[in-house]
Symmetry: C2
Subunit: 113 residues, 2 copies
DNA sequence: TTACGTTATTCCTATGGGGGAATAACGATA
DNA sequence: TATCGTTATTCCCCCATAGGAATAACGTAA
């Protein structure tokens, strides 16, 4: 029972072996939902627009229905919105992700090395 | 409830934020224990001796007591053995790792996207 | 018709991590 | 003393990938 050692890990949802939803992509979805903009979401997360767009593209292209729908031009220059499917993904992933981290913390107490 | 989507993840034990025991390093420890040789363990896992040695070095250098003790020269050219601490790490990690994967499989059934 | 801010896409660079190769060090054995 | 197979370490190259920069495309508003 040493405080030095901790369990840690990462979690994602995959489809045919390909990771589609992980902590980063889900946080991006949340921020897109909040801001209505891929660019603003990217800035908030300290990443380039290019990287954010690639993450969105990755999710959409691996799913039968998109999680983000975007338009260019128009008021504000364009916009992006998270679909219902995207919101479902956020909700389910975050729920299990939280439980996962609770389990990690709990089990960390029992490490004896 | 789609069979397409699955939870997956990785798990490790870290010390001061530095990963020390993960699936790869623990498997390496097991094979070192079985073979008594870093080189043979590396061959079994399809990696270079150099990489295997670096993994051992990484573990030992981040712990107060080594998980592998090795000697060069002598009968067979040298040898390596896993310490009691190393065996404890193997046992505890594998146990939680198994439980983790059971949880992943179980939760995967409940994904609804 | 121009300006604007965003989405969408291409191109090119660089950088650092991985890995092979080479070599030193070592001690039992014969 | 030579051989052997392993541990231990350094050197160097390469290439995949991350990332910035540049640019096209678009539609509303004034």
């Amino acid at each position: 029972m040493s405080v030095k050692f901790k369990y840690n890990g990462t979690l994602w949802i995959e489809i045919e072996g390909e990771p589609v939803f992980g902590p980063g992509r889900v946080e991006l979805l949340e921020r897109i939902q909040q801001t209505g903009s891929i660019r603003q979401a990217a800035i908030q997360m300290g990443m380039s627009y290019r990287q954010a767009w690639q993450m969105v593209e990755h999710m959409n292209s691996h799913l039968s229905h998109p999680v983000v729908i975007s338009q260019r031009g128009g008021k504000g220059g364009g916009n992006a919105e998270v679909t219902q499917k995207g919101m479902d993904a956020i909700k389910q992933f975050k729920a299990f992700h939280l439980r996962f981290h609770q389990l990690l913390a709990e089990q960390s107490k029992d490490i004896s090395l």
